[in-house]
């Protein structure tokens, strides 16, 4: 009997380690492409040309990053995207809050109507071309507002926030109502302060969406290249050979620099988000759960 249990616990210990090893492998699969990219962006030209760079930089070289940081084009796009991200995040959080809050009052007349209005948009989307022609008629083509306004309220995120609001005890609200607090006041001094976790989550979702988005810019902005967000600029650089040739003509005649330059630009556009998301992990896990689990 005793022997049996020992075999059992030994087997389960081995099992534990097997799972640990599997997880280490999975983590490596997630990380190695980034490590490779980082190594390339920091490597010397000769080593890149000879295909000798794997996961560790060879011939330490910061030239690529210097080029990126010296080029007004990247810095401009970086700053513009950052500004855009901040504006979009604040506006979207505001819109999401003012949409979710009234809908938690069960007896509000017209609440059902607004809910239906919202639900329909989740199932049926007019499509790319109707949206494009709409932006054209609103005069939003080639306009920076097109990167801000059309995406300022996500119905999915609104539902996440509304679910969170439902979790705040009604009694708090009701006692404030009895004390004569206005609905604005209740929102500002009860709901918003208690909703920091969900606000952090949705801020992350909106910010990542804007920082990573390029679809709208690709669709609605053609001529005004100065309005391109970072990702679209990056897309053009990765695909457009001319850009690389320009970089070579500008005095970086060594072949191979363009490759480390590409790696450096990709790194440069990713770093802000990679620095932020781990700190918000416990919040966004909760946020995803609120949005998707059936109650």
């Amino acid at each position: 009997m005793e022997e049996n249990r020992m075999i059992h616990s030994f087997r389960s210990k081995v099992g534990d380690w097997v799972f640990v090893i599997i997880c280490v492998i999975i983590s490596l699969i997630c990380l190695l492409p980034m490590v490779n990219l980082l190594a390339r962006s920091l490597s010397g030209v000769d080593y890149l040309v000879k295909h000798e760079v794997y996961l560790w930089p060879k011939g330490w070289n910061l030239e690529a990053y210097k080029t990126v940081l010296d080029d007004a084009k990247y810095i401009r796009a970086f700053v513009w995207t950052a500004v855009l991200t901040v504006i979009c995040t604040i506006l979207s959080l505001f819109m999401t809050t003012i949409c979710a809050y009234p809908l938690i009052f069960p007896h509000l007349k017209g609440r059902g109507f607004v809910n239906i209005l919202i639900t329909i948009t989740m199932f049926f989307n007019a499509g790319t071309i109707p949206n494009y022609l709409l932006m054209k008629d609103y005069g939003l083509l080639e306009n920076p507002l097109v990167l801000i306004v059309p995406g300022c309220l996500s119905v999915y995120n609104m539902i996440i926030m509304r679910s969170f609001f439902y979790g705040i005890p009604d009694s708090l609200r009701e006692s404030a109502e009895i004390d004569g607090a206005s609905f604005f006041r209740i929102l500002a001094s009860i709901y918003v302060p208690l909703s920091k976790p969900v606000m952090a989550t949705l801020a992350l979702f909106y910010a990542v969406g804007r920082w990573n988005g390029y679809y709208d810019a690709l669709m609605y902005i053609k001529k005004k290249k100065e309005l391109y967000p970072l990702q679209l600029l990056l897309y053009n650089i990765l695909n457009n050979i001319n850009q690389v040739e320009v970089a070579t003509q500008e005095g970086f005649s060594q072949p191979g620099l363009s490759e480390s330059l590409k790696a450096a630009i990709v790194m440069f556009s990713t770093i802000p988000i990679l620095c932020i998301y781990p700190f918000l992990q416990k919040y966004f896990i909760h946020g995803v759960t609120l949005g998707a689990v059936k109650e």
């Binding site: 997880c23 983590s27 490779n36 007019a126 509304r162 609905f183 998301y277 059936k294």
Partner: protein, 321 residues
């Protein structure tokens, strides 16, 4: 979803019907005032474009308003018929469905398996670290993933092909040959989303009563029989809901992923509806044709969703609604 909760709460309260009059408005006007902006937004950016869908049935003209445009031939269905006669559209339709099916069959189980694996980890700190790392790809844009893919998969300069060549094999055309491209596309999709999608399953697993596991241990159940008989049935409703949503999306397609990853050499396998609409519509100005394509896609998507939900309910599951 959350309405259920509100309703059950509403039942407990004494429901007093208040008449919609001046005193009601005086009391609740602030809530309505808050809703004005969101409702205006929804109407301006979600409902007005639905009206533009009419262009699918009309002959588009840049100088006319929508209601002035003449109806298309064949009772307005000219452009739908034309779309199905266009080889490029047929290819994109076929590719959309094929890529989504592969995503579903190959990609759907991965986050479930990953969640099951994570659930077996005993060391809290290690588990959290693995999670953080696995969520990382979700925060990368598809352009950046494309940038990474070039570095790793490029024919002569990519990390993997350097290794392959050093070992004396022919380089693998991950990105520039149709069939390999499809595999790369599916693989990158899984890489980007498996960690993130596992969150929801982990939450569902956390909701399973620990007593069930304890009882099973007493009965001498091993690790895998617990997984099979307790964990999987416990998260089945979540799996079904996500499966329905995936089925509803079988003809839908995001734009960012295929557009960022495709290149001219693999178009025959890589063109999907979203990218076709962009090229033929926005770049090619065939507005009526591409609106028709988009409408077709939306309608079929809704039908699939309804069908999947109906099927789930028929098999005794709760479904989406």
């Amino acid at each position: 979803m959350s309405e259920v909760k509100a309703k059950s709460r509403g039942n407990k309260e004494v429901v007093t019907k208040k008449p919609f009059n001046m005193s009601y408005i005086r009391r609740y006007w602030q809530l309505y005032a808050l809703l004005v902006l969101p409702v205006v937004y929804l109407i301006m950016f979600k409902y007005v474009p639905m009206w533009y869908v009419l262009i699918a049935f009309k002959k588009y003209s840049i100088v006319q308003k929508i209601w002035e445009m003449p109806w298309a031939k064949n009772h307005g269905f000219e452009y739908f018929i034309k779309a199905f006669k266009t080889p490029d559209f047929r290819t994109s339709l076929k590719n959309t469905i094929w890529l989504n099916l592969l995503d579903l069959v190959v990609g759907f189980p991965v986050p479930i398996i990953f969640a099951l694996i994570l659930n077996e980890l005993r060391f809290k700190f290690f588990k959290k670290t693995v999670q953080t790392i696995a969520y990382m790809p979700h925060f990368l844009s598809w352009v950046i993933i494309y940038g990474l893919a070039i570095q790793v998969f490029a024919p002569t300069t990519g990390l993997i092909n350097i290794l392959v060549q050093n070992l004396g094999f022919e380089p693998i055309p991950f990105l520039n040959e149709g069939h390999h491209w499809v595999r790369t596309y599916i693989g990158l999709g899984i890489w980007q989303s498996f960690g993130w999608n596992s969150i929801i399953y982990l939450a569902a697993i956390a909701g399973i009563s620990p007593e069930l596991y304890e009882a099973a241990s007493v009965d001498g159940a091993g690790r895998f029989s617990k997984m099979w008989h307790i964990t999987l049935p416990g998260i089945k409703p979540t799996i079904i809901v996500l499966l329905i949503m995936a089925l509803g999306n079988i003809i839908g397609s995001g734009f960012d992923r295929p557009f960022a990853l495709q290149n001219n050499l693999v178009m025959k396998n890589a063109e999907v509806i979203a990218t076709y609409v962009y090229k033929a519509g926005i770049k090619g100005s065939q507005f009526s044709l591409t609106t028709a394509v988009g409408l077709f896609q939306s309608v079929v998507g809704v039908i699939f969703l309804l069908l999947a939900n109906w099927l789930a309910r028929k098999f005794g599951e709760r479904g989406l609604w």
